[in-house]
């Protein structure tokens, strides 16, 4: 096996408007919580480097569970507790009020306080500190805390997304780009640009590394890439398929699909020794492995029963059992951290939708109503599913909450976007 280690200099190309995602909220919950996010007071010199309150407000709105109050409707702009007059906020029907102060041009410090307008009481306060260059990430951490306080579920705003964008070139080969962005689509960075396909991006469990399939050698090969150093390593170069890299929860093993021995089967690669173990052996297609959070079994897609369905391989016993029966086509499973909710691509009436399958109740619920939906990726807090779909002839990203109640779209300003991969919680 060829093992090429490329020390690739990460070209931190900021894309400008090109592959940047735009967020359009299409559906929220019926009675979203009205929250006012008063502009945070900047206590440094000059102008504030980032509108922290705006980032927080955008996060809360995007969750679909909050209806942020328009700034123009605010009767005051408090930034300290003694400036808070509850009647001003009751007058505009705000249920909660968030205020804050920001300081530090190098090391940034954000202090924030949350008030319950009806109870007229402070319910929560906190501080976030970090490099000012990461101001938006600090703001997302504030959002995470507020979201958790008010919904009981940890937020997943301080996370990142990987996606592939394609610019068509009618006179030659298309341009493929693997892009890393914040969970709100901001700060896109191109990690890899190629004239050959890029697909199946996936995250290491600590969010420090990614793996993907690139055809840059004119054949598919699996690569891993460190996000901090840019160091890149080609892990496979086998005849046939080299696809679907999936990191084990302990980060030591990568599941993948190879067809070097005949038909596509699942293999495990020990990342330290690069030793391969074949775990399925069937003449049918076995592909799209994904790990259960406990690392003891994998879900995968197989058409061994005639049509693609989800199967489960138990690592200890080496046995395989079929998981899904409902519908003619269920594929590319991704499991929530609870080990219970599984999102899949589900075909019904000839259309491909995103569905959620409950491993405990065996219930399948279709979440989307668009067609040609694919590549579901679940947020680390299990609340939202990001997926790829089509709008007209264009590939766009969209998101839906696991209960189907909240929906938003993330089209790129230009080109097609696909293959989203939501990061795990990032180690700080």
């Amino acid at each position: 096996m060829t093992r090429i280690i490329l020390s690739l200099v990460l070209t931190l190309v900021t894309l400008g408007a090109r592959a940047e995602l735009v967020i359009e909220i299409t559906q929220g919950v019926d009675n979203p919580t009205a929250i006012a996010v008063s502009p945070f007071a900047w206590q440094g010199g000059g102008t504030a480097p980032e509108d922290i309150a705006q980032v927080v407000q955008g996060d809360l709105a995007r969750s679909g569970q909050f209806a942020p109050v328009d700034r123009r409707d605010m009767l005051g702009r408090p930034s300290t507790e003694k400036e808070v007059f509850y009647r001003d906020w009751r007058a505009i029907s705000a249920e909660y009020l968030l205020i804050g102060r920001v300081s530090g041009t190098e090391q940034m410090r954000i202090e924030y306080e949350l008030f319950d307008v009806n109870r007229q009481a402070k319910v929560f306060d906190g501080t976030e500190t970090g490099p000012a260059s990461e101001a938006r990430m600090l703001a997302h951490r504030v959002s995470d805390k507020i979201y958790e306080k008010l919904t009981g579920i940890p937020g997943a705003f301080a996370t990142r997304l990987l996606y592939v964008s394609v610019t068509r070139n009618p006179t030659g080969k298309d341009y493929y780009r693997l892009t890393l962005a914040d969970s709100d689509g901001a700060r896109p960075i191109v990690l890899l640009e190629s004239r050959e396909p890029i697909l199946a991006p996936s995250w290491s469990p600590d969010g420090s590394e990614i793996a993907y399939v690139s055809f840059e050698t004119t054949r598919p090969a699996i690569f891993r890439q460190n996000l901090a150093t840019g160091q890149r390593e080609q892990l496979t170069n086998f005849k046939g398929l080299n696809s679907s890299p999936a990191w084990s929860p302990d980060g030591k093993t990568m599941a993948m699909v190879l067809s070097k021995d005949g038909s596509p089967d699942l293999y495990l690669m020990d990342l330290a020794s690069k030793r391969l173990t074949r775990i399925t052996r069937h003449y049918a297609i076995d592909t799209e492995p994904t790990w259960m959070p406990d690392g003891k079994s994998l879900l995968f897609t197989s058409d061994r029963g005639g049509r693609p369905q989800i199967y489960r391989y138990d690592l200890r016993s080496g046995t395989t059992e079929r998981v899904t029966y409902e519908g003619a086509y269920n594929a590319r499973a991704r499991v929530a951290q609870d080990g219970r909710n599984v999102v899949v691509v589900h075909q019904s009436n000839g259309r491909f939708h995103i569905a959620i399958y409950d491993l405990v109740t065996n219930r399948m619920q279709v979440l989307t109503s668009t067609e040609l939906d694919e590549s579901p990726s679940i947020a680390p807090n299990g609340s939202m599913v990001l997926y790829a779909t089509k709008s007209g002839d264009r590939g766009i990203l969209a998101a839906v909450s696991v209960d189907g109640g909240v929906k938003f779209r993330l089209p790129a300003r230009e080109g097609d976007v696909r293959e989203p991969a939501w990061s795990p919680y990032m180690s700080r």
Binding site: P220, L241, V257, T287, E419
Partner: protein, 174 residues
């Protein structure tokens, strides 16, 4: 090779003629006659050789024309990797040409946009393998054939609907 056989036979004939002439006579005239006969025979051999080469070229051209007529893209039914009768006839033309040379080929399998990307990657490989297996069964050495699947990543027709999808479910021979 046909033209080499013809040339070989002509050459044998030429030597036989020269030997017979040399045996039957000892005077100069007869020797001159023998040389003339040898030259005539050599010219005939060259002519036969040229004709044979032209015939081989003509046949190669016929095979190439047949390949050009069918093209290098073979289409498949939805979710199927079986060669259709049409596709088989097309591949046959390529097999006929490949049987006369030692070129290598690359078979690129593709699918339409329906279904998941990685499952389609596997389906594209199945299609490429299906063409490869048919070629191997018909005498093309497997080491001359490389297969690669692009799944749904490189459509020819970008829109949705069967008219576009049917153009994308294909194997391209390169």
């Amino acid at each position: 090779m046909k033209h080499i056989n013809v040339a070989g036979k002509a050459l044998t004939l030429l030597f036989t003629a020269a030997f017979l002439v040399a045996c039957s006579s000892s005077d100069t005239k007869e020797a001159d006659d023998a040389a003339a006969a040898a030259a005539a025979a050599a010219a005939a051999a060259e002519e036969a050789d040229r004709a044979a080469r032209a015939e081989a070229e003509r046949q190669a051209r016929v095979l190439q024309d047949a390949v050009d007529a069918v093209g290098n893209v073979f289409y498949f039914e939805f979710d199927s990797s079986n060669l259709t009768a049409d596709a088989q006839r097309m591949v046959d033309a390529h097999i006929a040409l490949l049987s006369t040379n030692d070129k290598t080929v690359r078979l690129e399998g593709h699918t339409d946009e329906r279904g998941t990307r990685e499952y389609n990657m596997a389906l594209g490989e199945r299609r490429a393998n299906s063409v490869r297996d048919y070629m191997v069964a018909n005498g093309i050495a497997s080491y001359r054939i490389e297969t690669v699947s692009y799944g749904e990543e490189q459509p020819v027709a970008y829109g949705s609907g069967e008219s576009n999808w049917s153009q994308n479910r294909r194997v391209e021979l390169k």
